[in-house]
C-alpha cells in the first residue's frame, strides 16, 4: 500500500498531532514513513503544511509530487484549496468548514465553498461545533482524522490503538475523549 497525505492549516492549529497519530499507526504496521514538516517563521499564524507519506515499500522523496496526494486533511477550508495542485484527480479532501480569518482579504465563504463543491471527493465538517456539542472540545482535529480514516486506507482499530499509545501518558480521560472524537468523525464520513 501507499498513501500520500497533505496535512494543512494555519500555524498553531495542531496539524502535527494528527500526523503523529497516523505516523504511530503506520509505524506499528511496519510501514515506511516520511513526513516533511514546516518549522520556524511560518508557524506564526501563517499557512503551514506537512507532507506525510506512508508505504509498504521504501519511500525516496520527502515531498509529494503534483497530482500525487491521495488525501488532503485540512484544519481550514481555504488552506485545503491551497494545495489543490498536489491532489490526485481521484483524491479526497477532508476539511474543517470553519474559516480562520487572520488576514484582511479572506475570500467570501460562498466562493470557497463553491470551489470545494466543484471537486469530486470532499468531506466538509464543522469540527469545532461537533467537538463542543459532544463534550470533546479539545479533540476537533481527531474528528477530522476519523472522517479521513477510509481515505487513508488505515484500519479504524489501528488508529484507535495509535491514539491510546500517543495520548496514554496524558491519562485515560484524554484517551477516551480522542477515541470518542475519532468515532464521531468516522460516523460523519
Amino acid at each position: 500500500m501507499k498513501t500520500d497525505i497533505i496535512l494543512c492549516g494555519v500555524g498553531g492549529q495542531g496539524i502535527l498531532s494528527i500526523a503523529t497519530i497516523i505516523g504511530e499507526a503506520a509505524m506499528n504496521e511496519n510501514l515506511y514513513i516520511k513526513q516533511a514538516e514546516v518549522h520556524g517563521m511560518s508557524q506564526r499564524g501563517g499557512d503551514v503544511q506537512s507532507n506525510l507519506r506512508i508505504s509498504s515499500d521504501p519511500i525516496a522523496s520527502d515531498l509529494i509530487a503534483r497530482g500525487g496526494a491521495d488525501v488532503i486533511i485540512s484544519m481550514e477550508p481555504m488552506e485545503a484549496l491551497r494545495y489543490l495542485p498536489f491532489l490526485s484527480k481521484e483524491g479526497w479532501i477532508i476539511t474543517s468548514s470553519t474559516p480562520f480569518k487572520n488576514i484582511p482579504n479572506y475570500p467570501d465563504m460562498d466562493v470557497i465553498n463553491a470551489d470545494l463543491a466543484k471537486l469530486p471527493h470532499v468531506i466538509t465538517l464543522n469540527i469545532e461545533q461537533m467537538a463542543k456539542d459532544n463534550g470533546v472540545p479539545r479533540s476537533a482535529n481527531v474528528i477530522l482524522l476519523g472522517a479521513a480514516q477510509k481515505a487513508l486506507g488505515i484500519e479504524y482499530e489501528k488508529l484507535e490503538d495509535a491514539i491510546r499509545r500517543v495520548f496514554g501518558r496524558k491519562g485515560e480521560a484524554i484517551v477516551e475523549a480522542n477515541i470518542k472524537a475519532l468515532a464521531i468523525g468516522k460516523a460523519n464520513s
Binding site: 494555519v10 520556524g40 508557524q43 515531498l63 488576514i103 479572506y106
Partner: protein, 528 residues
C-alpha cells in the same frame, strides 16, 4: 524521528561530550533533543545554548583540545558568524572529534539567503559530509567523529531543510559508545597559530587534501551505481538523490553517482563522464559540484543549474527533477485562484506589537525617520499593519547600521533589536555607538526568550540594564518600560524624549513572549 533528532541521537551514541549551538531554523531541534535526552543527562553532556555561533565553535574547539567529542550546530548564516574559528579550526586541527553541523535553508523558508555551506568546507579544506536521509544522518555521526579523529580535522556536516525537518523511521544502536577521556595529546605548536607554526600547518593540511579526496573515492557514502543506459549519467547529492530515486521507482536506467562525502571524488566523476554521453547534476543548494565538474569547459553535455536544466535558485522538489528528465508529472488540478496568501504575523498580544504601535505613533511627528530592524519575530514589523522597519540584514546590524546612518547625518535613527539578538551580536555595536555617543535610539525589545525559533533560553535575560551600564551608557538614557496598551502614553513620551536627546540611548520594553507565557501557564496548571 526528525532528521535533526537522528543527528542528535547519532552524536550521543557516538560518545558526545558537549553540544554547542545558537538556535537557528532548521537546526534548532538537534540541541533541543540533546537537552531533553536522559542519556545526555546521565552522561553530563554539556548542552546549554550559547550566546552565538562563534562562542559555540570556540568552546567546541576547547573541548576537542582536551580530547573529547564536541558537536557545533547552527543554521547556514550562523557559519558566517563563526567563520573565523571555523576556518582556523582547519589550521589547528582537532584532538577529540569535532562535527560542525550546518543546516542550509534553500528556498529561504526562514532565512535571509540561500548560501550553500559546502563552499565553506572546500574553502577551509575541511572534509564535508552530506547525508541523504535520516538513517544515513544517524549513521554518519559516528562515522564523521571517527573520521575527524583519524584525520585530525573537524568535519563539516551539511544538511538542508528537508533533511532536518522531515521524519522517518530510524534504526538505532542499542548501545552508546563510551565518551572520550580527557587527554593531553593536543600539540601546542599546532594550536598556536603564530605565522611560523601556521605555515607548517597550512602545508600539512594542504598536503592532506589528496588523502581526503582518495577517502572520498573509497567512501561507503559515495556510491557509483551502474545503469544500462549510458546516454546519460546522473550525479546526485544530499536530498537531490532522493528526488532522482523518486523519478525511477524501479531503479534508474542511467548510471548514478551519489555524492555524500567531499572533497569531490573526482575519479568517480571522471568515470561517469567517460562512460556517459552527458551528465545531469542534481544537488540541493547552489551548483557546487556542477561548478567543479564544468570548470571552464562550455560542454553541452553537462546539465544542471548553470544551463537552466534545473532552476538556479530555490529548493528542488520531485516535480522539478521529473521535468529535468523529461518525465511528465501526474495529471493535477489547477491551483485555486481564490486562495489568498497568509503571511506569518506577530502573535496576538505580543509585546513587539505594542512597541511598534508606540514607535509608529511617535515617528509620525518627524520627517524621514529611519528604523533599522534586526533578525527575529519583530522582523515581521516590516509587514502591514505596522510597516515599521526599513532594514534587516544580519544578526546585530540594527545598532551598527543606525550608527552609520547617524554618522551620515540621519536623524531620527532608531535601532530595534530583540534580547537574544542583542547578546548574540548587538553588544559590540552598542559599545561603538556609546564610545562616540552616536545620535541613535536603540530599542531592545525584550521578551525574555529566543522567540522566533520556538522559545529557547536567551543568554542575557535579567542582565540587559547591567550590560548597557557596563558598556558605558548613563542611567539617564537607559529606560525600561512594560509594553502594554495601558502604558502607551508613558512609552511614547519616553521614545520621543530619547529621540530628541542628541546621543545614544537605550529603551528596553520588557514583557514575556506570548508563546512561552502560554507554555509556562500550561506547565503550572499541569503541576497542580
Amino acid at each position: 524521528m526528525l532528521g535533526d533528532e537522528a543527528i542528535a541521537l547519532g552524536a550521543l551514541h557516538a560518545g558526545l561530550s558537549g553540544v554547542y549551538a545558537y538556535p537557528g531554523t532548521p537546526s534548532t531541534e538537534i540541541t533541543e533533543f540533546i537537552q531533553g535526552s536522559p542519556l545526555a543527562k546521565e552522561r553530563k553532556v554539556r548542552s546549554r545554548w550559547c550566546t552565538n555561533e562563534k562562542t559555540a565553535m570556540e568552546a567546541a574547539l576547547g573541548m576537542s583540545y582536551m580530547g573529547k567529542r564536541a558537536l557545533v550546530c547552527m543554521k547556514h548564516v550562523g557559519l558566517n558568524v563563526c567563520a573565523d574559528p571555523f576556518v582556523n579550526s582547519g589550521m589547528t586541527g582537532v584532538n577529540g572529534g569535532v562535527i560542525v553541523l550546518v543546516a542550509d535553508d534553500p528556498s529561504m523558508h526562514s532565512s535571509q539567503d540561500e548560501q550553500d555551506s559546502r563552499f565553506y568546507g572546500k574553502f577551509a579544506m575541511i572534509p564535508t559530509f552530506e547525508p541523504s536521509n535520516q538513517q544515513e544522518a544517524y549513521n554518519m555521526m559516528e562515522a564523521a567523529f571517527e573520521y575527524s579523529e583519524q584525520q585530525n580535522l573537524p568535519v563539516l556536516m551539511r544538511v538542508t531543510t528537508r533533511m532536518a525537518h522531515s521524519r522517518a523511521v530510524v534504526e538505532v544502536k542499542s548501545e552508546a559508545r563510551q565518551q572520550n577521556e580527557l587527554n593531553y595529546k593536543a600539540i601546542a605548536a599546532n594550536w598556536v597559530l603564530l605565522p611560523a607554526n601556521a605555515r607548517k600547518r597550512n602545508d600539512a593540511v594542504t598536503a592532506q587534501q589528496k588523502q581526503l579526496e582518495e577517502d572520498a573515492v573509497n567512501s561507503i557514502y559515495n556510491i557509483y551505481c551502474d545503469g544500462q543506459d549510458k546516454s546519460m549519467g546522473i550525479i546526485a547529492s544530499g536530498i537531490g538523490y532522493n528526488y532522482v530515486n523518486e523519478c525511477f521507482p524501479k531503479g534508474s536506467p542511467y548510471p548514478v553517482l551519489k555524492i555524500s562525502q567531499y572533497p569531490l571524488p573526482k575519479k568517480l566523476v571522471r568515470r561517469l563522464l567517460d562512460e556517459c554521453k552527458k551528465v545531469l547534476i542534481v544537488e540541493e543548494g547552489q551548483p557546487f559540484i556542477e561548478d567543479i565538474v564544468r570548470g571552464v569547459s562550455e560542454s553541452q553535455n553537462i546539465m544542471g543549474k548553470l544551463d537552466g536544466t534545473l532552476p538556479r535558485t530555490g529548493e528542488l522538489n520531485p516535480d522539478i527533477v521529473k521535468k529535468a528528465f523529461g518525465i511528465e508529472s501526474d495529471q493535477c488540478f489547477d491551483s485555486c485562484a481564490d486562495v489568498t496568501p497568509r503571511p506569518p504575523a506577530l502573535c496576538m498580544g505580543c509585546g513587539h506589537r505594542d512597541v511598534y504601535t508606540a514607535l509608529n505613533e511617535v515617528l509620525r511627528e518627524y520627517d524621514n525617520p529611519r528604523v533599522f530592524g534586526d533578525i527575529g519575530c519583530y522582523t515581521l514589523g516590516f509587514l502591514p499593519p505596522f510597516r515599521a522597519i526599513h532594514s534587516c540584514v544580519d544578526m546585530g546590524a540594527s545598532i551598527t547600521m543606525a550608527k552609520g546612518a547617524a554618522d551620515a547625518g540621519q536623524w531620527p535613527a532608531v535601532a530595534i533589536i530583540g534580547d537574544s539578538t542583542f547578546t548574540h551580536s548587538g553588544m559590540t555595536g552598542l559599545l561603538d555607538a556609546i564610545n562616540e555617543n552616536a545620535n541613535i535610539t536603540v530599542i531592545i525589545s525584550d521578551n525574555l526568550t529566543t522567540g522566533m525559533t520556538g522559545g529557547q533560553d536567551s543568554a542575557g535575560t535579567n542582565k540587559f540594564e547591567a550590560i548597557c551600564r557596563g558598556l558605558g551608557l548613563s542611567d539617564e538614557h537607559l529606560k525600561v518600560v512594560v509594553p502594554i496598551p495601558k502604558n502607551m502614553p508613558e512609552i511614547t513620551q519616553i521614545i520621543r524624549d530619547e529621540i530628541n536627546y542628541k546621543g545614544t540611548s537605550v529603551i528596553i520594553p520588557r514583557r514575556e513572549c506570548m508563546q512561552t507565557l502560554q507554555r509556562h501557564l500550561k506547565q503550572k496548571k499541569e503541576a497542580k
